[in-house]
């Protein structure tokens, strides 16, 4: 079946009002697959959906017919006291059993197909869930970043999921189903993204105060785009020119409490919060909550817990000059 048909079938669950809507309107939709993993699930769900429609129509149809057809009429003779019917019982035991076999077989096939085994040569990414942000580590590339996962299109990827604290669940619906992120365990997802684009995701297992704010985005790039991103990430941090605001910011950063928790290669080595070495290259801050603008960054540094309940990052006590300088410095870390 051509993919476009499958898309049409897959959209059917979203009822008439949404048919024709484009994926961009629903960046976190499960119904717009963009990887082999997501497609496998979509195909399975589409089949189940149509079986459900059939059963729904049959059962609700009989129900409606029965209540209208057999409503009490004055003077009608009492109904025949039927107690049961063996053949009918056998029939309506076997019919659902048959439908369920037709669902179970592709289900089990898909379970083994999507069990997380990546082919050799897949790009390895370690995903670490933290309260309440995502760490992405590329061990083969020597890259550590946060909240924005960059993947090359068309290349198999092996995600290895662990947690630094409580249980989270990694979920970027366009790329497939979720897997829990558990301290002391490693869960695996294998997938190959099939279209470039930016896809939203977020933590799907309740993990405390800011569970709602533990968002992420996946940037699927062409080979060349991904290679360029890798090259930029592997380069050390930008060193600001002497005398600039950014250089004053670097000094203020190095004096501040920021360094206890954050890494900027060559400047600080904190491991509690996200790595900031290339913060300026990210689209968002605070785990996908806000666009990466100077205003948002300043607000965030000033009072993170007000923007993200429970945030481990405290209010930073800084002079306005230091704060603006640090913002300028962090923005320059591209």
């Amino acid at each position: 079946m051509p993919r476009s048909w499958k898309t049409l079938l897959g959209l059917a669950p979203v009822a008439a009002g949404l048919i024709g809507c484009r994926a961009e309107q629903f960046p976190q939709s499960t119904l717009h697959p963009r990887s082999d993993f997501a497609w496998a699930i979509q195909d399975l769900f589409t089949g189940i959906f149509w079986w459900a429609v059939v059963v729904f129509v049959v059962v609700e149809g009989i129900l409606l017919y029965a209540v209208f057809r057999y409503r009490a009429r004055p003077g009608a003779p009492p109904p025949r006291p039927v107690h049961g019917h063996t053949l009918l019982e056998i029939a309506w035991t076997l019919a659902p059993a048959l439908v369920l076999v037709l669902i179970a077989v592709p289900t089990i096939r898909t379970i083994f197909h999507t069990a997380g085994k990546a082919p050799p040569g897949a790009l390895r990414v370690e995903v670490v869930g933290h309260q309440w942000w995502w760490e992405f580590r590329y061990p083969e590339l020597g890259i550590v970043t946060a909240n924005e996962l960059h993947l090359p299109v068309g290349r198999p990827v092996a995600l290895e999921l662990t947690s630094a604290d409580v249980i989270h669940s990694f979920w970027a619906p366009a790329l497939g189903g979720k897997r829990d992120v558990i301290l002391s365990r490693t869960n695996r997802i294998a997938l190959t993204a099939d279209s470039e684009g930016v896809y939203l995701g977020q933590c799907a297992e309740f993990c405390g105060a800011s569970h709602a704010n533990m968002r992420l985005r996946v940037v699927v790039q062409s080979d060349s785009g991904f290679a360029a991103w890798v090259a930029a990430q592997r380069a050390g941090p930008v060193a600001p020119a002497p005398g600039t605001l950014e250089e004053r910011g670097r000094q203020a950063y190095a004096r501040s409490a920021c360094i206890a928790c954050h890494t900027v290669q060559g400047v600080s080595a904190g491991r509690v919060g996200p790595d900031l070495t290339h913060l300026g290259s990210r689209q968002t801050i605070a785990s996908g909550l806000f666009a990466n603008t100077p205003e948002n960054l300043a607000r965030w540094i000033e009072d993170a817990p007000a923007l993200k309940p429970g945030s481990l990052m405290p209010k930073m006590v800084l002079t306005p000059e230091d704060r603006d300088a640090i913002v300028a410095y962090l923005r320059s870390l591209r």
Partner: protein
């Protein structure tokens, strides 16, 4: 002290299953309203993106307490209210097997519910979800009192459920009237029996899980803490090993109610009685082998996922069989559209939708996209609201005349039904789409970029419509106290024994214990004419046990112990234990007074 003790003392010391049933009803109704209010605040917060009706912390408390309250303090006790009132009447008994234990169950339930909700007064309401996943519940990640309130409250409630479970099993097995063979039991009583077997087997599992959690939090053990060699996933296995049978504990009684209401108002015997009963028993058994379908995203491996997928799909078969038998019961009948019948038909219509979305959860890969999203929220509400609550409302309209002597108003009842039906579909149907479009559950806020704002607004409108419907129901209850039409013994032409006595029945229920000759004793069947009703006045005096203070006093020991544990005051724990022990001792030696 006699059973006719009146006023407050009469209620505090009662051991009459009918009075205890009413106590369960009013208490559970109160908790139902509290849980509903929590739901409305949740929906107000989610009516649009980035709203700030409540804080993140308050939202997490609200959805935790909404789930915990509805499951343990509203739905289970509402089924208990009907078990209490109706089952002894249906089997031709004078009371339950252990009347004082019955009173004890109620008081423990009430006190456990109050204890857990007292956490709101301290601003420390439970906030880790009704499922309380480890290791978020560990001392490290939940340092306050909230989890302690939750786990101690659940322990107390578990004692109430277990005591009631044993009581009803013994009652149904041993106190049946002569001739009331097992396969003549009314379907509601049968489903009660299956439910109670699930209660006495499932609750010990959650008890063990909670004891582990209590030890982790109070005494520094590491059952769920990886750093100490424990495993947070162990909690999930134990919780769902309890949690899935719990789902059937909530739905089987409603299935029993529907199996009573449909025959009465279609004037036809339940189609395939034997099959309906056995499929209920089968659901009870199979309910034990499907727990890990709550854990497909945990990463159990493809073999386990396949097993639990297949087992879960299997359970759809007996469920489907029940639905077809209900349809066949209606088929060819003379259907009277009372409010009770409407809710029973609504049950079939709505539960079917919940069952179908359940099949898509049973398919492990599909579930990886759906679990922990609003799609699951839609599913559980079609099953527990469209299923259990619709069934309970059917039961209330059906048995209210028996319980109070007056019928609920049918016109208001129809308003109640249609508003509830409309509200629930507005509230919960869009949630299927909200979930498929990517909104996780248990989030206190979401951004406009997800594209689910309008659907969420619709859902909120639906929730408030349910709220309005519930006000109509409350008004109906209030109005009916004085102005309801007198019920007589049998307002509906029911087939079962409860309709053969006055409404409400006398304290001893049956002036003469009936002898049962058919499954439908009060109907004319092929082989039997209708059973004559017992005489209005007992031919010989019927001894009725007096009330007792000891169930209440014994029950008080439990919240005292829990309060001591919360406060880390060992002396108070011992005080509570002393109350408990003295209560049990005095209870055991209390003389029987006629």
């Amino acid at each position: 002290m006699s059973a006719s003790a009146t006023g407050l003392r009469g209620w505090l010391t009662t051991t009459d299953h009918k009075r205890i049933g009413l106590l369960y009803f009013w208490t559970a109704l109160g908790f139902f309203l509290a849980g509903g209010l929590e739901a409305l605040i949740i929906r107000a917060q989610l009516a649009g993106p980035n709203r700030t009706v409540v804080s993140a912390e308050a939202f997490n408390q609200l959805f935790t307490m909404h789930g915990t309250t509805m499951v343990f303090l509203a739905l289970m006790p509402l089924t208990a209210a009907l078990f209490n009132y109706i089952v002894p009447l249906q089997i031709g008994a004078r009371d339950v097997a252990f009347p004082r234990l019955n009173a004890f169950s109620y008081w423990v339930f009430l006190l456990g519910g109050l204890f857990m909700n007292a956490s709101f007064l301290l601003g420390a309401a439970p906030d880790a979800g009704w499922f309380g996943y480890a290791n978020l519940t560990s001392k490290q990640y939940s340092p306050g009192l909230s989890i302690d309130f939750w786990l101690l409250g659940l322990q107390i409630l578990g004692i109430a459920s277990l005591a009631a479970g044993f009581n009803f099993i013994v009652t149904i097995l041993n106190l049946r009237a002569p001739g009331m063979k097992m396969m003549r039991l009314p379907a509601f009583t049968w489903m009660t029996l299956v439910t109670q077997f699930l209660v006495i087997t499932a609750f010990p599992v959650i008890t063990v899980a909670l004891v582990f959690l209590m030890f982790d939090r109070f005494f520094g053990t590491s059952f769920y803490i990886p750093a100490g060699g424990g495993d947070p996933v162990l909690w999930q296995h134990l919780f769902w090993l309890f949690g899935h049978p719990e789902v059937y504990i909530l739905i089987l009684p409603a299935m029993g109610i529907v199996s009573e209401v449909l025959p009465t108002f279609a004037r036809k015997p339940l189609f395939g009685y034997t099959v309906v009963v056995y499929s209920g028993v089968l659901i009870g058994f199979m309910g034990w082998g499907v727990w890990s379908h709550h854990m497909f995203s945990t990463g159990l491996g493809p073999v386990a996922d396949s097993f639990f997928s297949a087992a879960t799909m299997l359970i759809a078969i007996p469920t489907g069989v029940k639905i077809f038998n209900w349809l066949a019961t209606l088929w060819g009948g003379q259907i009277r559209f009372t409010t009770a019948l409407l809710f029973a038909v609504g049950f079939i219509a709505m539960f079917t939708i919940g069952g179908l979305s359940g099949v898509s959860h049973a398919s492990a890969p599909a579930d990886l996209q759906q679990t922990d999203t609003y799609y699951v929220v839609a599913h559980i509400h079609y099953v527990l609201f469209g299923g259990t609550i619709f069934g309970l409302f059917a039961g209330m309209y059906y048995w209210w005349p028996k319980m109070t002597g007056r019928r609920l108003d049918e016109r208001l009842g129809k308003w109640h039904f249609w508003l509830t039906f409309l509200g629930m579909n507005l509230a919960f149907f869009p949630m299927h789409l909200i979930g498929l479009l990517g909104m996780p559950r248990r989030i206190y806020t979401y951004g406009p970029e997800l594209g689910v704002s309008t659907l969420n607004l619709v859902s909120t409108v639906g929730a408030f419509t349910i709220g309005l419907a519930t006000l109509v129901f409350l008004y109906n209850l209030w109005r009916t106290r004085r102005r309801g039409a007198p019920a007589g013994n049998d307002p509906w032409g029911g087939a079962t024994l409860e309709w053969s006595v006055s409404s409400p029945p006398p304290p001893y229920n049956f002036s003469v214990i009936p002898t049962v000759q058919s499954r439908l004793p009060r109907w004319h069947t092929e082989h039997h004419g209708p059973m004559p009703d017992p005489p209005e006045v007992p031919p010989a005096p019927v001894p009725v046990p007096g009330g007792s203070w000891w169930p209440l006093i014994t029950a008080l020991g439990l919240p005292i112990m829990a309060t001591g544990a919360i406060a880390h005051a060992l002396a108070v724990v011992f005080l509570g234990a002393a109350v408990l022990v003295v209560g049990i001792y005095r209870w055991a030696y209390e003389p029987f007074e006629a």
